[in-house]
């Protein structure tokens, strides 16, 4: 079987779960003898080309990545218009290249490559599989979703022969908001290569509370800061680390100043892979107060680093991980309660992190690849 995968992010260039997903998916598909032809945009950093059975084609010129920007002035209604031209250009080039190649199934990841996927499906008569990692509603946390992106998503979902979602919650969203046909949706949870992380090490208990993610409304960094304020009212020797970058950074710094908590909050900016794994390991508790979180791979990364996690109730990962705290993202009071208790009673974190680490065995990429191949077979 030969699969054409149209991707957008690929290591080392990535902003979130999508890049990791694509890398691990093609790697594990290749291992299982599936021939993968992967099209990704040409970026300043070269993509990794060391996977068996995987041919990577870097298409077009270097592309800006709006989801990663820290300077809001480059944004116009959330994205730069330049970005959409580049997306259009990428899709066009993908079509031209793909028409000359042979494959059995087309697999697209998120809206950015949907137009090429749909056109190739119709022109070449090949079945189309789309994976939805997040929707426009998720990414904008429901604040001004752009209609034309929603339309592209809707069209892609309608045209696809099979749709893969990363959680049941996402499946429900597609049915309710996009009118998707329930029968063609398969839920495949993301995986994790936990060997890349530190595992259950001895905690130093430095009273560090960690947030990691793109600084956008979707990830709920404001709720994290307001939670910090509440924790500090009860317990003063706590450090809140806001890891990552994104458009909301300047506003978040202002918010921390307004709340009067700057002595206890650190904004790290961009973190390298190496710094990330250390940050996860050093934290006493990882908090993911996402407003919308289709899956939430960072929660698994924290668990793989031996850190107990508090996650938003609606996160996809909360459907599968039992040994964690689940909260409403807006409930800063409850998050503060839980953080204080984790810091106060070390046995709590110990029990939680050991048990949740044991749950990771259900999240192998090997399983993701098997389930994905199963979807390919059914089209």
């Amino acid at each position: 079987m030969r699969i054409l995968i149209l991707g957008w992010e690929f290591p080392p260039a990535k902003t979130g779960g999508l890049g990791t997903h694509c890398y691990e998916l093609v790697k594990n598909l290749g291992k299982k003898g599936i021939k993968v032809l992967l099209f990704i945009p040409k970026r300043s950093e070269n993509a990794k080309h060391d996977l068996e059975n995987v041919e990577i084609v870097e298409v077009g010129s270097a592309i800006s990545n709006p989801y990663n920007a820290t300077d809001p002035t480059t944004f116009e209604k959330g994205y730069g218009w330049n970005f959409f031209d580049e997306v259009r250009e990428f899709n066009k080039k993908c079509i031209a290249l793909a028409l000359q190649r042979k494959f059995d199934v087309i697999h697209c990841h998120d809206w950015i490559t949907f137009s090429a996927g749909v056109e190739l499906k119709n022109r070449m008569g090949k079945p189309l599989v789309v994976t939805i990692h997040s929707t426009e509603y998720d990414r904008t946390a429901n604040i001004y979703p752009m209609k034309f992106i929603v339309d592209i998503e809707k069209n892609g979902i309608e045209e696809a022969n099979k749709v893969i979602t990363v959680s049941k919650h996402m499946k429900k969203q597609l049915i309710e908001r996009y009118g998707a046909d329930e029968r063609k949706i398969t839920v495949i949870y993301n995986g994790i290569d936990y060997t890349k992380f530190f595992g259950v090490t001895n905690k130093q208990h430095r009273n560090i509370v960690l947030f990691l993610g793109r600084l956008t409304n979707q990830k709920g960094p404001y709720f994290f800061l307001h939670t910090a304020k509440k924790v500090l009212e009860k317990k003063s020797d706590v450090l809140f680390v806001v890891g990552g970058q994104g458009e909301k950074l300047p506003e978040l710094i202002r918010e921390a100043i307004n709340l009067g908590i700057t002595d206890n909050v650190v904004f790290t900016g961009y973190l390298s892979e190496d710094e990330l794994t250390r940050a996860y390991e050093m934290a006493d508790v990882y908090v993911m107060p996402s407003v919308a979180e289709p899956f939430g791979i960072t929660a698994l990364e924290a668990i793989a680093s031996g850190t107990p996690v508090i996650v938003s109730k609606t996160a996809g990962v909360a459907e599968k991980i039992r040994h964690c705290f689940k909260v409403d993202f807006w409930d800063t009071h409850e998050m503060a309660n839980k953080i204080i208790c984790v810091l106060r009673y070390h046995v709590l974190g110990e029990c939680m992190r050991r048990n949740s680490y044991g749950e990771l065995k259900d999240f192998g990429w090997d399983r993701v690849a098997d389930q994905t191949i199963d979807v390919y077979r059914r089209v």
Binding site: F325, A336, N337, C341, V347, L348
Partner: protein, 388 residues
């Protein structure tokens, strides 16, 4: 002759209110939830089952006998939420065919941390039974049938004739649970052992479609009882089995309604209460249990309550308050209510294996939430004790 001994455990914990590190002047107990659960269980289980048993007793007469153990925590809620349930238990007591057993008032783990506290709670429970039913219990059953040589010794020392526990191979080895035994180093007390296989056939497997004996009928069950060797078969189960663990539509009430008649069809079977067993039969040997045994889960130990570090810490911190809290009348009762085993059960993390039972009316999303809530309340009590 083999005597069939039915004893039903009746208990509902007082569930805690949501209590955070920020809570002040919030009541510790969740009155709304406790009422809701209690009224539901009263309607589905207590009232209809008591009614059924009353009818059976009035139709069959002296040949049908049963025993109950009611916790103090249950009775308190009963008086508050469904006084008619207490009335129907009194009617059962008035028939003279029903024996009430002794236990700790608070359905607590007191035996595991303080002999003095343990004895005090037994005394409180005894007074309650005397007051409600005018009976002086002669047979003791500890919370979750927790038992050891030491516990048996304590119970003997305060005048009991019998103690109930699990009839498990771990200490019985090749011996049958269907006899009376003498606890090691005891003389005046005998142990009554639960026949867990026949008890679980009703308690757990009654409606299990995967079970090769499904559906369980009263005549089939009676034939198993009749085939048992020994002086007694002890069927000890949670009362909530009727109508709650096994819903009404499983046929559990129909089963109960005909079971005594089916049993009495056999010439070699009769009904006896625990005290009658002790009067009628002799101990056949000594049992030696140098560790804490219970009737819970596959392990039959205390691991459902005191296995993980959260459970141990919570228990330890609670136990530590004993001396201080005994000087404070108002907090004493609350502190004792916090000893109810269920609070520790909710913190159990091994729920993947024995999950279903643990989830029964559990008010928490996770064992971690249960721990936090308990610790926050304990912290508040500590604060109040320090303020005195």
């Amino acid at each position: 002759m083999t005597s069939v001994c039915f004893y039903f455990q009746v208990h509902q914990p007082m569930r805690l209110n949501k209590f955070t590190v920020f809570s002040e002047n919030v009541p510790y107990f969740d009155d709304y939830r406790n009422r809701k659960y209690f009224e539901r269980i009263a309607r589905k289980c207590y009232l209809p089952t008591n009614r059924t048993l009353l009818d059976l007793i009035s139709n069959i007469g002296k040949e049908f006998r049963i025993a109950f153990s009611l916790t103090g925590v249950f009775v308190e809620q009963c008086k508050k939420y469904s006084p008619e349930v207490i009335e129907s238990f009194k009617q059962l007591a008035d028939t003279g065919n029903v024996e009430f057993l002794s236990e700790t008032y608070y359905h607590s783990l007191a035996a595991l941390f303080s002999v003095e506290e343990f004895k005090k709670q037994i005394k409180l429970h005894k007074a309650m039974i005397k007051d409600l039913f005018n009976q002086r219990p002669k047979v003791f059953r500890n919370t979750e049938a927790m038992y050891s040589n030491e516990i048996a010794k304590i119970i003997e020392s305060i005048g009991y004739k019998g103690i109930i526990t699990e009839g498990h191979e771990s200490f019985l080895s090749w011996r049958s649970p269907n006899y009376l035994y003498t606890p090691r180093d005891c003389e005046k007390i005998v142990a009554l052992l639960r026949n867990y296989k026949l008890s679980d056939d009703i308690g757990f497997r009654f409606s299990a479609r995967w079970w090769e004996e499904y559906p369980l009928t009263a005549d089939k069950y009676s034939s198993w009882l009749s085939a048992c060797e020994g002086s007694c078969v002890n069927i000890f189960i949670d009362y909530e089995t009727f109508g709650e663990h096994q819903w009404g539509d499983t046929g559990i009430f129909e089963f109960l309604k005909v079971l005594p008649y089916e049993i009495l069809k056999y010439k070699n079977l009769d009904f006896k209460t625990p005290s009658q067993l002790i009067k009628s039969y002799k101990s056949v040997g000594v049992i030696d249990v140098p560790y804490i045994l219970s009737w819970a889960d596959i392990q039959r130990d205390t691991s459902a309550w005191l296995e993980n570090d959260m459970q141990r810490l919570a228990f330890e911190q609670m136990a530590k308050l004993e001396n201080l809290v005994k000087k404070n009348r108002k907090l004493l009762h609350i502190w004792r209510l916090l000893q109810t085993s269920d609070h520790f059960y909710y913190m159990c993390t091994k729920w993947f294996a024995d999950g279903d039972v643990h989830k029964y009316f559990n008010p928490y999303d996770s064992p971690y939430d249960a721990f936090i809530n308990y610790m926050n309340i304990l912290q508040d009590i500590k604060r109040r004790l320090a303020a005195k």
